[in-house]
C-alpha cells in the first residue's frame, strides 16, 4: 500500500471546509485502496495555534517535509501560522522539489460588516505569492473545492500508482528513501549554462550582446531562461536540440528518473558533438580522397576501418579516438577543412588532455546507469565534464545545419536564367519539435545537392555535405518535417544493413538495400514511368544513402563491400 501524505493548512474560519475535505479524502480512500493507495491527511490545527517552542516548529517542518501534497486554504485573512506553514512548505519544495503545493482562496460572499484590518493580511499574502511566481486557485464553495482537488488528484495519482508497479521504467528505486533525507538543491544546468554562454559569446552575437547587457543575468530567473534559450538556439542544430533536453530535465522536480535521464543525456550530447565533427571530417576527407588520393598511416587506416566495420554503436571514447586519427590525417597532409577551429583540438584529445579526460569520465557513467547507483554528485560531475566538451566545440555556434529537400527549377518564357528554389529545413535546437515554420525556400541561381544535410558557416555554398553519415529520413522519404539520424553502425557480419540513430529519441532506423533497383538510363520510358511513382523515388533515395556509405568506405579504407561468409 502506497501512502500519500496530504498536509492541510487553513485559518480557523474555514474549519467547516476542512472537515468536509476530510470526509472527501475518506471517500477517496474507499475507492483508492483497490489501487494500492492510501491518502493520509495531516492536520495540525489542533495544536498549531499554540505553537511556541522550537521543538514543535521543527516537528512541524518535518511533517511538511514528509508530505507529498500540501493544501493551503484561505478566506478573509491569512493567519500568521497559516502563512508560515505556506512559506515552510514552499522553502522545502524549492529545496527538494516536493511536496506539491496547492493554495486555494475561497471566493465567497462575505458580510461587509465583518471585514476588519485582517483583510490586509490576505491582500499582502496574495501579492507575495505573485512575486514568488506561485499560482493560486479560487474556489466558491466546498463542493467546488472538492471538485477542483479531485481533478488534481486524478491527474497526479497515476504517478503514485505507477510507482508501485515493479515493471515501470521510471520507478523510484529502493534506495531513494535514503537520498530524500536531506533537502536537495536543484543546481542542475547552472554550470552548463554559465560556461556555455561565456564560451559561445565570442562566436555568437546574440550571446555576446546578451552577456554585455546583462552581467548579472544569473541572479534573475527570467534572464537565466533567456540565457538557456540563447544557448539552445546558438549551438548548431542537432547539438542545440540535445542541450534543450538537458535544460528540460534540469528543470524537473527531483526524482531518480531525472538523474538517470540527465546522466544519459550528458553522455549522448557529448557523443553527438564529437560525432558531428568526425562525420564532417570523414565526409570532407572523402572529397579530398576522390580528388587526390593520400596514403594513411597504418594506425590511421585501422581507425577508419574500425569505424566503417563497427557492428555496434561506438561509445564516446571510440569517437575521441576516431577524431584523433582524423585530426592527425588533416594535420599531416595539410588538408583544408571548413570547420578549421576543430584542428586545434588534437592536443586536448590526447592522453592527459582535458577533453579526453572529460569523455573518459562521461563514459564511466554507463556503469553507474547500469547499476542504477548514481547520485546527485554524479549528475553534477557529468554536467561539468559535458561542459568541457561543449566549450571546446563552442565554435559550432558559428555554424548552421540545414536539411535540403527538393530543388525546384523555375524558368518561364523570355527569362534569361531560371530560378533554383532550394527547399530546405533549418535545423534549430529549440524548434526541432516544430517544423512547419522551418520549411523554407531560398532562391539561388544554381542548384545544390538535394536530399542532404549540410553544415556551413556564413557561405551557404561553401558547405560540407554530411550524407551518408547524417541524414534526414523524412526528407529522403519525401515527407514533411525533418527526422535527423546519425549513422550508428553496420550489420557488417549479417545482411550489411545500415543502422542509424534518430537523434530525438535514439531509436534505431535501419536502411537496407532495397529490392527495387532504379532501372537503367538506357530505357527512358521504363525509367520515367518508374520515377513517376513516389514509392520508387523513396527507394531510390534510400538506396543512394546505402550505396554512398559503401562507396565512402571503399574510398577511405580500400575495403570492398563485404558479405558475411556462411560458415556452415
Amino acid at each position: 500500500m502506497k501512502t500519500i501524505r496530504i498536509f492541510i493548512a487553513s485559518s480557523s474560519e474555514l474549519k467547516g471546509d476542512r472537515e468536509e475535505f476530510r470526509a472527501f479524502i475518506s471517500r477517496e480512500n474507499d475507492r483508492l485502496h483497490t489501487k494500492g493507495i492510501y491518502l493520509k491527511l495531516e492536520q495540525w490545527e489542533f495544536f498549531k495555534d499554540s505553537i511556541s517552542s522550537t521543538r514543535l516548529q521543527d516537528e512541524y517542518n518535518e511533517a511538511i517535509r514528509q508530505s507529498d501534497l500540501v493544501l493551503c486554504l484561505f478566506y478573509t485573512k491569512v493567519g500568521k501560522y497559516t502563512a508560515e506553514e505556506f512559506y515552510t512548505a514552499y522553502e522545502i519544495f524549492k529545496a527538494q522539489g516536493r511536496p506539491r503545493i496547492w493554495t486555494y482562496f475561497k471566493n465567497a460572499a462575505i458580510n461587509v460588516g465583518a471585514i476588519t484590518d485582517e483583510i490586509n493580511t490576505l491582500l499582502e499574502f496574495k501579492k507575495k505569492l505573485g512575486e514568488l511566481g506561485h499560482f493560486h486557485t479560487e474556489y466558491t464553495s466546498i463542493d467546488n473545492l472538492i471538485n477542483k482537488y479531485r481533478s488534481q488528484l486524478d491527474m497526479i495519482l497515476p504517478e503514485y500508482e505507477s510507482d508501485s508497479r515493479p515493471e515501470q521504467v521510471e520507478t523510484v528505486n529502493e534506495s531513494s528513501d535514503e537520498k530524500e533525507e536531506g533537502p536537495v538543491e536543484n543546481s542542475f544546468n547552472e554550470v552548463l549554462t554559465k560556461n556555455l554562454l561565456e564560451a559561445i559569446s565570442t562566436h555568437n552575437r546574440k550571446a555576446g550582446d546578451f552577456l554585455s547587457a546583462n552581467a548579472d543575468w544569473a541572479e534573475n530567473e527570467d534572464l537565466v531562461k533567456t540565457a538557456k534559450r540563447i544557448i539552445i538556439g546558438g549551438y548548431v542544430g542537432v547539438i542545440g536540440g540535445q542541450i534543450r533536453k538537458l535544460m528540460s530535465i534540469g528543470a524537473e522536480d527531483y526524482s531518480d528518473s531525472k538523474m538517470m535521464r540527465y546522466l544519459e543525456n550528458c553522455q549522448i550530447t557529448a557523443k553527438r558533438g564529437l560525432q558531428l565533427i568526425c562525420y564532417a571530417m570523414l565526409s570532407r576527407l572523402w572529397d579530398h580522397q576522390l580528388a587526390d588520393k593520400i596514403e594513411f598511416s597504418s594506425s590511421q587506416k585501422d581507425g577508419l576501418v574500425k569505424f566503417f566495420r563497427n557492428a555496434a554503436e561506438e561509445d564516446i571514447l571510440a569517437f575521441v579516438e576516431l577524431l584523433g586519427h582524423l585530426l592527425e590525417i588533416y594535420t599531416d597532409n595539410k588538408l583544408d577543412f571548413l570547420i578549421s577551429e576543430s584542428l586545434n583540438l588534437l592536443p586536448r584529445l590526447q592522453e592527459g588532455g582535458d577533453i579526453r579526460n572529460a569523455c573518459l569520465k562521461l563514459n564511466e557513467s554507463s556503469q553507474l546507469l547500469k547499476n542504477a547507483s548514481y547520485t546527485l554528485e554524479d549528475c553534477l560531475e557529468a554536467e561539468k565534464n559535458l561542459s568541457v566538451v561543449l566549450e571546446s566545440l563552442s565554435f559550432l555556434s558559428e555554424y548552421r545545419m540545414i536539411s535540403i529537400n527538393e530543388i525546384d527549377f523555375n524558368q518561364q518564357r523570355n527569362d534569361h536564367e531560371g530560378l533554383y528554389l532550394h527547399n530546405y529545413t533549418l535545423l534549430v535546437g529549440e524548434s526541432l519539435a516544430n517544423n512547419e515554420s522551418q520549411s523554407s525556400v531560398r532562391r539561388e541561381s544554381s542548384p545544390v545537392i538535394s536530399h542532404a544535410v549540410i553544415i556551413f558557416k556564413d557561405n551557404y555554398r561553401n558547405n560540407i555535405n554530411l550524407d551518408p553519415f547524417i541524414i534526414d529520413l523524412n526528407g529522403l522519404k519525401l515527407e514533411g518535417g525533418s527526422k535527423i539520424c546519425f549513422y550508428s553502425h553496420a550489420n557488417t557480419y549479417d545482411d550489411l544493413s545500415l543502422n542509424y540513430s534518430f537523434i530525438e529519441d535514439n531509436s534505431k532506423e535501419i536502411i537496407k538495400k532495397s529490392s527495387n533497383p532504379r532501372p537503367s538510363d538506357s530505357s527512358l520510358n521504363v525509367l520515367n514511368s518508374w520515377l513517376s511513382k513516389k514509392e520508387n523515388r523513396i527507394d531510390m533515395n534510400l538506396d543512394k544513402v546505402y550505396s554512398l556509405f559503401f562507396e565512402a568506405k571503399k574510398d577511405l579504407t580500400g575495403v570492398e563491400e563485404e558479405f558475411a561468409e556462411d560458415s556452415f
Binding site: K148, G233, A251, E430, D505
Partner: protein, 660 residues
C-alpha cells in the same frame, strides 16, 4: 502486489503505458506523424480510444522531458479555454524583456518572418520557457467546436491556430475528432491546409486487436488475471463474439470490451476490490450469457445504486428522477454535453438544487461524471454512456432539446443572414418556452418573428377581405369594413401567444377589448371559411348571433380541438408527430377561463398538462407518437367552477393524421 489491469471507462494515461495493448501500429504511426507535421489529426468513431491513444500511447513513447501536453476541451468557448489552459501552465506573458534585439538574419526563420508573435504564441513561448519541453496542444473532442460553438468562435480559433503555426515556437497541435464530424473541418482546412495532411484513423477493435488487449493484460507480470492454459484463443474469441452479438460487424467498441472484462472478473471473483486473482476460462465466458446493451445495463445499475444510496435523504428520489438529472449531460444525438452546475439547475427548475447537487456528486465520486476545472463544467465520462442517457429521455425532454437547438441554430446565424421563425416553428416551440431559459437575443428574435408573422397574416387577411369585397353583398361589406377598421391589431388564431402589446391592449379597457373581440371574432369566422352561415344574415341577425355568443353559458360554447403535423424525429423507432390541443370558443369569452387542464392517459410522461394562456386559446402541445383514446379536459373558470369535458382524441385525430 498484483494489479488489476483493466481501466474500465477511464482513458489510459502515460503511466498506464505498460498495460495499454492492441494499439501498437497506431502508436507508431502517430509518433512518426508528429515529426512530419506540426498538426496531426486523430479521428475515429466514438469509443475507439482516441484520447487513450494520444495520452497513453503517444505520450508513453515520448520521454518526459520532450513532452508537455496540454489538453484543451472547448468548455464554453474554445478560445477562452486555450488561453486559460496556457495561463495555468505558466503562460503568463512577461512583456518586460525584449528578446527581439538579439535576432539576426537566420533567426528570422525561426520567429515567423519577423512578424510579432500573437498573444497566444507568446503565451506558448512562456510555457515552453518554464521547463524547455516542446508543447503539445491536444484539442480533445474537437467536434464540440462545431456542434456547440458559434461561427465567430470558430473564426477566432482558426486565426489563433494560424498564428501559432507561424510562430516558430516549439509547439505541436493534435486534434482529436469523431469521424462523423470530419466534414465540419472544411473551412478550417481551407484556412490551414496542412490540417488534414497528417491524419490517423483509429479503427474500432477487431478480433486481432481484442486478442492483443486480452493477452497483453493477462500476460504481463503482476497482472491478477490469467487465462486458462490452452484456452487463450477460445477465451478471446468467446469474449469478442459475446460482445458483438449477432451484429454483422467485424469490430466491437472498446468501452464495451472494458465493461465486459470487468463484469467477467466480478462474476468469477465477486471481489469488488478487484484484488483477488481470476482465471478466465471458456466456460466462464460462456456463462456470461447474452449481454445485450452492456453499457445501458451498467448505467442502469449505477442509477439504481445511487437512488438507493440517497433515498433516505430524499424520499422522492427514484431512478426516473436520476435519469432526468442525467439527461442534460447528453446531446440529442447521444454525445457528451458538458454543462456547469448552474446550467444544470436551470435545466431542472422543478428539482431541489440540493438533491441535484448530491446526485451530481455521487456520479462524480464513482467517476461517471467528470469535473473540468478549466471550464467549470461536468460531463459524462464517456460518449458511450451519453447514448443510453439520450435513449432514456422522455418525448417531452427530447422535444425541449429540439426546441432549444432550433432556436440556437437560428440565432447562431449572423443577424443579416438570419431568417424569422416560421409559423410552424413558432407553433412547435411555443409550449416549451416557459421551460427553457433563453437569452435576450433569442427572446427578441422570437418576438420579432411573431411580429413579422402577424404582419404577414394581416396582409393575407386584407387580401382575403379585398377578395370578399369583390364577391359579397354590400350589406355584409358594410359590416365587414367597419369591423376591419376596428381591428388594426388583428391577430389570426394560431396556437401561440400574442405579443405583449396585444396583451397590453387587452388590459387597456374591457369594453374596448370586447368590442375588438366582437370584430375579431367575426373576421375570424369569416376567414376560417365558417362565415357562410353569416353571409346572408341581416345586420340585426348578425348582432343577435353575436349577442347569443356573448351571453350563452360558456360550456355550451366551448369546443376542444386538436391538430397534428408530422415531425422528422423518431422515438422508439416510431415516427413522431407534433400534436396541439386548444379550446375553440369566442375570443371575447376567453377571459372568463382561468386555466385548462388536459388529462392524458397512462404512458405519458406528464399525465396532467395545464395552460393558463388565453392568447393561445389555452393550447398545449407534445411531440411523440402516442395517442390516448380520450382526453379529459378540465376547464376552470375564473368564478371557480370547473367544466369537465371528454375529448375523443383518438377518433378525432385518426381522420387528421397526415399521410406520407
Amino acid at each position: 502486489m498484483k494489479k488489476y489491469p483493466f481501466k474500465f471507462l477511464d482513458s489510459y494515461q502515460r503511466e498506464d503505458r505498460n498495460v495499454f495493448f492492441g494499439r501498437d501500429e497506431e502508436i507508431k504511426a502517430l509518433y512518426e506523424m508528429v515529426f512530419q507535421s506540426a498538426t496531426v489529426l486523430v479521428y475515429g468513431a466514438s469509443g475507439t480510444g482516441k484520447t487513450s491513444l494520444i495520452n497513453c500511447g503517444l505520450a508513453g513513447k515520448i520521454q518526459r522531458h520532450d513532452w508537455l501536453d496540454l489538453m484543451i476541451r472547448r468548455g464554453s468557448d474554445i478560445n477562452k479555454s486555450l488561453k486559460s489552459v496556457l495561463e495555468k501552465a505558466g503562460g503568463k506573458v512577461d512583456e518586460a524583456f525584449d528578446e527581439t534585439k538579439y535576432l539576426d538574419e537566420w533567426e528570422i526563420d525561426t520567429d515567423g518572418s519577423g512578424q510579432e508573435l500573437t498573444p497566444i504564441s507568446k503565451s506558448i513561448r512562456a510555457v515552453y520557457q518554464r521547463n524547455f519541453r516542446p508543447v503539445y496542444l491536444i484539442f480533445d473532442q474537437f467536434e464540440e467546436l462545431f456542434i456547440l460553438g458559434s461561427l465567430s468562435e470558430q473564426q477566432i480559433f482558426i486565426e489563433t491556430i494560424q498564428g501559432i503555426l507561424q510562430s516558430g515556437q516549439p509547439v505541436k497541435l493534435i486534434f482529436s475528432i469523431r469521424e462523423e464530424y470530419l466534414g465540419y473541418l472544411f473551412d478550417f482546412e481551407r484556412a490551414i491546409p496542412q490540417l488534414l495532411r497528417k491524419k490517423l484513423r483509429v479503427e474500432p477493435m477487431n478480433l486481432e486487436k481484442v486478442k492483443q488487449v486480452i493477452f497483453g493484460a493477462t500476460a504481463f507480470e503482476g497482472s491478477n488475471i490469467s487465462i486458462k492454459e490452452g484456452e487463450e484463443d477460445a477465451v478471446a474469441e468467446g469474449i469478442f463474439h459475446k460482445i458483438k452479438g449477432d451484429k454483422k460487424s467485424l469490430t466491437i467498441q472498446l468501452p464495451f470490451l472494458q465493461v465486459f472484462l470487468d463484469k467477467l472478473y466480478l462474476n468469477i471473483t465477486g471481489d469488488k476490490k478487484r484484488e483477488k486473482p481470476a482465471e478466465f476460462t471458456s466456460d466462464k465466458v460462456n456463462e456470461m450469457g447474452e449481454i445485450g446493451d452492456i453499457l445501458s445495463n451498467f448505467l442502469e445499475k449505477q442509477v439504481a445504486d445511487i437512488s438507493r444510496e440517497l433515498i433516505s435523504k430524499y424520499p422522492i428520489l427514484n431512478p426516473g428522477l436520476i435519469w432526468k438529472i442525467l439527461s442534460p449531460f447528453a446531446t440529442l444525438e447521444g454525445t457528451k454535453d458538458p454543462i456547469t452546475k448552474e446550467e444544470l439547475f436551470e435545466r431542472l427548475p422543478d428539482l431541489d438544487q440540493k438533491l441535484v447537487n448530491d446526485v451530481v456528486e455521487a456520479f462524480s465520486n464513482n467517476r461517471l461524471l467528470r469535473y473540468n476545472e478549466n471550464t467549470d463544467t461536468y460531463e459524462i465520462s464517456h460518449d458511450s454512456l451519453a447514448k443510453p442517457i439520450a435513449e432514456r429521455r422522455s418525448v417531452e425532454e427530447t422535444a425541449l432539446l429540439e426546441v432549444k437547438r432550433l432556436i440556437k441554430s437560428q440565432i447562431g446565424v449572423s443577424e443579416e443572414a438570419r431568417e424569422f421563425f416560421s409559423e410552424k416553428q413558432l407553433i412547435y416551440i411555443e409550449p416549451y418556452l416557459t421551460k427553457i431559459k433563453l437569452s435576450e437575443e433569442e427572446l427578441k428574435w422570437i418576438a420579432n418573428s411573431r411580429e413579422s408573422l402577424k404582419k404577414e397574416k394581416q396582409r393575407e387577411a386584407k387580401q382575403k377581405y379585398e377578395d370578399l369585397v369583390k364577391s359579397k353583398k354590400s350589406m355584409f361589406l358594410k359590416v365587414a369594413v367597419g369591423v376591419f377598421l376596428v381591428i388594426a391589431g388583428l391577430f389570426i388564431f394560431i396556437a401561440f401567444k400574442a405579443q405583449k402589446s396585444a396583451n397590453d391592449a387587452l388590459e387597456a379597457g374591457k369594453e374596448v377589448t370586447i368590442e375588438k373581440n366582437y370584430s375579431d371574432e367575426l373576421i375570424r369566422l369569416l376567414l376560417e371559411g365558417k362565415g357562410d352561415k353569416y353571409e346572408n344574415l341581416s345586420e340585426d341577425d348578425l348582432k343577435g348571433l353575436l349577442e347569443m355568443e356573448r351571453v350563452a353559458p360558456i360550456d355550451s360554447l366551448v369546443e376542444i380541438r386538436a391538430s397534428v403535423s408530422p415531425s422528422n424525429t423518431l422515438s422508439e423507432g416510431k415516427k413522431n408527430y407534433n400534436f396541439t390541443f386548444w379550446l375553440e370558443l369566442p375570443s371575447f369569452r376567453k377571459n372568463e377561463i382561468k386555466e385548462v387542464s388536459y388529462n392524458f392517459c397512462k404512458g405519458f410522461y406528464d399525465s396532467i398538462r395545464t395552460s393558463r394562456d388565453q392568447t393561445s386559446s389555452f393550447s398545449i402541445g407534445y411531440l411523440g407518437w402516442g395517442v390516448c383514446d380520450t382526453i379529459g379536459v378540465d376547464i376552470v373558470l375564473e368564478n371557480g367552477t370547473t367544466i369537465r369535458k371528454k375529448f375523443p382524441f383518438k377518433e378525432y385525430i385518426s381522420k387528421r393524421l397526415p399521410t406520407e
